[in-house]
Amino acid sequence: MQLARVIGDVVVTRKDPGLMGLKLLVIQPLTPDRRPAGRSLVAVDSVGAGVGEEVFFVRGKEASFPFYPTEVPADAGIVGIVDQWTLT
C-alpha cells in the first residue's frame, strides 16, 4: 500500500455498471516526507475520504475487494484514512 493525499474527485456519468454509486477520487501518492511520489491517479473510495486528507491505497484487483460481491473494475482503491505516521 502507499501513502497518498486526496487532491480532487472525478464525475463519470457513462461508466461500467460495476462503478455505479462509487466515489472516485484523484489521489497523489506521497513519500513519508510528503513529497509527490509518481503520477496522480484515480482511486475508488470505500472509507469516506475527503479532499485534502491523507490516505493509504491498494493497487490491483484487491481494490475491488471492499465491494465484494459486486465486481468493480478498479485497479486502485483507498482503504484507510491516515491519522499519523512516525518515522524513526
Binding site: E62, P66, G80, T86
Partner: protein, 113 residues
Amino acid sequence: MQIGRVIGTVVATQKNPKYDGAKLLLVQLLTPDGAARGTPVLAVDSVGAGVSERVLVVQEGRAAGEALRRKLAPVDTAIVGIIDRVETGGDRPIPQAPKAEASERAGRRPRQS
C-alpha cells in the same frame, strides 16, 4: 519478494475492517546491497517486525492476503519474514585453483580475483 527495512509506523483509525488488529508499518525497499530503492510503502505485518529491522516483503495481493490470513483482504503488501542475513556473491568469478609453483607461473600474468 523484496528486501526492506522498517522505517516507521502508521496509525489509521478509519480503515477497511479487514485491517482490524493488523499492524501497519512503513518499509523502505532495498537492493540486496542495502541501498534504498523507490518510495517507501505501507505493509501489514504478520511476523512482529520491529522498527529498523530488515524484512522480507511480498508485493502481490494474493500472497499479502494469505499473510494476513484473511480472505478478500484489500492488501497488496505484507511483511512475511525478518531477515537474519543477506549474502550476495556479486560478480566475483569462481575462485582460482591453488597457486602453482613459481617456476610454472614464470612468464604468465597472475589472474585477478
